[in-house]
Amino acid sequence: MSAYDIVKKSEDLLDQAKDSRADMLMVLVDKKGNQRKRTLQSFVKSGDNDESKSIIFFITPADVKGTSFLVWSEPDKEDDQWLYLPALRRVRQISSSGKGESFMGTEFTYFDMGGYDIDDNTYTLVKEEPIDNNQCYVIEALPKVAKYYSKRIIWIRKDIFVPVKIDFYDKKGLYLKQGIFSDIKDIQGINTPTRMEMYNKQNKRSTVIELSNVVYDTGLKDDIFTQRYMKRGR
């Protein structure tokens, strides 16, 4: 099995559901250990031709409650993105060219949150090694065009093909951050990491995302992924 096939299989297994919804607890930790918490609700729907739609509603804290973020993705095309800020009462179309930017102040970027195409990288199987007694493929992903990272090293569990760790290197080739994906649960036959921690080695900050109430294939309607629902809220 080639490195590309491993990554592809991992992606396909995670993306096998037609749609999903989840509650998210996002904890932002600064270098002194101070914590900020945000709760969100996310809905994702995939189409037949690799297109997808997602919408995120911010539930807490109070000053961001009601904010929503909508993305329509199509292959070989820049994403269409809209942001609804209740303080303005307006939906604003925003540029998607900044996928390397922080997602809502976290250590995750829009790219990390799934905004990438598997074919934008070349993959090499470096070695195999265990993490927490689980044997993993260690794969080096090099972008064909280094837009956001110069390199990623991905640890994918051999038994269930779920990525459990990713090291990110910045465009200068320096070690930037590490993502740990844990608390893997079998939800409707899909092995789902329900805890994602991203630790930025350069600024010493981290973000933890915990998923709960994850449900797949609920038959989400396209209506949800519209400006109508952005304004209405979850």
Partner: protein, 503 residues
């Protein structure tokens, strides 16, 4: 004393109240109810010596939302306000009213929004007190005329904050081709103004204290009385409303809109009593004074508009424009009064007074002439603008240019806020987050090209915790002209600080 009271209240609240007033959320299947809110203490320090001071203000905001299924929801936002800037005009009513311009907010309760929603597959219906947000530009939206504004701070508050909720019905219909929003506002809700003695009372509504004339009488003193609004009868003909059709076409969010109703901008009439008094019979010397009654005037307008937004590379482009039919512009009060009290007009009044004096046998030593000068210029006009936004990580920059064009401008009849038939405003906004969005710096500025005035609003917001925020900032205004939108407030520079506890 009041400052200490405010600080104490905030400190007590921060330490004791959050556990008791914690946000309440109840979810059960498709039903939910939630209560959120904040308590905010605010202090303002006037940087110019010649404007009145303000006491600290406190606001308790409660936000209640509920739904009994996916087909409905309700929302109620109530604000309890103890406002240090608004002097009690004498009303003892607790709730802010929907039929008055001058309101009591010391203290008061404001129903900011209160409505119920009904959802069906292709249609949403919202009934109640609502705030609308048409258009795509920031802060200045030519197509957005459904809500009037609370101008007790001169319009320097954020856009949604200063909007006054209007009791109304909104029906939104959705299809794959276009979304249609229809609004009906049965009764006009007037804008709100501070009292004339307060800092943010518009200078353009103050007649000059004296009118200089080139006659022997010289200066004519002017007294002014301000009256509240007299609303039109509640009937369908006097209601307002609009329709907005929106679609997403080839990457562009595009809307077309139409509004008919009363113009949300303040316009006034200025009925004037000019009294001629005989001071000295032997010398035949006269005294003249003027008493101006400033009365709000409302007029129906029709607004045809469009707005759009799209992205080009890393930028978001926004545009908006509107054609105003039958818009009324207020003539400059000083020029109107000077015209009414000009030399020839004085001579006519004195002559008429003398005839009355003689025919009364010398007993009628004073005579009042009532004039109702035409304060209004009825004109069709246009207002349009474009903006560009750039967001990179924690930084966002926004630039806008908005112009108002009055084709029939008559330089012999000058109006407020427009010079030579054109008014162009350029705005710039810069926002930068630091420390995982804990610290936020905002720099907002607007410059009026024709009047050469500028407003600059820097502020820094810091979140101590998720629920406790503080903001310090300033409002700095420079301008030469009293008849300019910004320049009229050039003596209103202030520094401010607020502390907000969310729950």
């Amino acid at each position: 004393m009041k400052a200490y009271g405010c600080a104490s209240l905030i400190l007590i609240f921060i330490h004791l109240m959050p556990p008791a007033l914690a946000a309440y959320q109840y979810d059960r299947q498709d039903s939910s109810i939630s209560l959120y809110g904040y308590l905010q203490g605010e202090a303002r320090y006037a940087l110019d010596d010649d404007t009145p001071d303000e006491d600290p203000s406190q606001v308790l905001n409660l936000d209640l939302r509920a739904n009994l299924g996916s087909w409905n929801s309700m929302m109620l936002v109530i604000k309890g306000i103890d406002d240090g800037k608004v002097i009690d005009p004498g009303s003892a009513r607790l709730f802010n009213e929907f039929d008055r311009i001058y309101q009591d907010r010391n203290p008061s309760v404001d129903i900011d929004e209160a409505y119920i929603d009904l959802y069906t597959r292709y249609m949403d219906v919202r009934l109640g007190i609502q705030k609308f947000a048409w258009g795509r530009l920031d802060e200045i939206n030519p197509t957005d005329n459904l809500n009037t504004e609370d101008l007790t701070r001169g319009g320097t508050d954020d856009e949604v904050e200063r909007k006054i909720g209007a009791p109304s019905l909104k029906v939104s219909m959705f299809s794959g081709i276009a979304d249609i929003e229809m609004v009906w506002i049965p009764r006009y809700v007037p804008y709100r103004l501070p009292n004339p003695q307060e800092r943010w009372f518009p200078e353009v509504m103050k007649p000059p204290a004296v009118i200089e004339t080139e006659t022997l009488i010289g200066e004519i003193p002017v007294l002014t009385t301000y009256h509240d609004i007299d609303l039109p009868a509640l009937n369908v003909r006097n209601s307002g409303g609009g329709v907005r059709v929106s679609g997403y076409i080839a990457g562009v969010d595009l809307s077309l809109s139409y509004f008919t109703g009363y113009d949300p901008m303040p316009v006034t009439d200025a009925a004037t009593d000019i009294t001629v008094t005989l001071e000295d019979v032997l010398a035949l010397s006269y005294d003249i004074d003027a008493h101006v009654d400033i009365t709000p005037r409302i007029s129906r307008i029709h607004v045809f508009g469009f707005d759009l937004t799209t992205t080009v590379g890393s930028f978001t482009i926004r545009g908006e424009g509107a054609y105003f039919k039958d818009k009324i512009y207020n003539r400059k009060l000083s020029s109107v009064l000077a015209q009414e009290l000009a030399g020839q007009r004085q001579e006519e009044m004195i002559e008429e007074f003398m005839q009355a004096y003689i025919s009364s046998g010398g007993t009628d030593t004073a005579r009042t002439f009532h004039v109702e000068p035409d304060m209004a210029i009825l004109e069709d006009s246009m207002k349009y603008g474009a903006g560009i936004d750039y967001i990179y990580g924690d930084t966002s920059v926004s630039l806008q240019c908005i112009q108002e064009y009055m084709p029939g401008f008559d330089e012999d009849k000058p109006v407020y806020f427009i010079k030579d038939g054109v008014d162009t405003v350029v705005t710039a906004s810069f926002k930068q987050f630091f420390m995982q969005n804990t610290l936020e710096i905002n720099l907002d500025a607007a410059h009026d090209i024709q009047f050469r005035d500028i407003i600059f609003k820097p502020s820094v917001k810091y979140s101590f915790t998720d629920n406790l925020q503080m903001c310090i900032g300033a409002i700095l205004i420079e301008g030469k002209y009293d008849d300019a939108l910004l320049g009229q407030f050039r003596d209103n520079d202030e520094a401010f600080a607020w502390l907000r506890c969310n729950f």
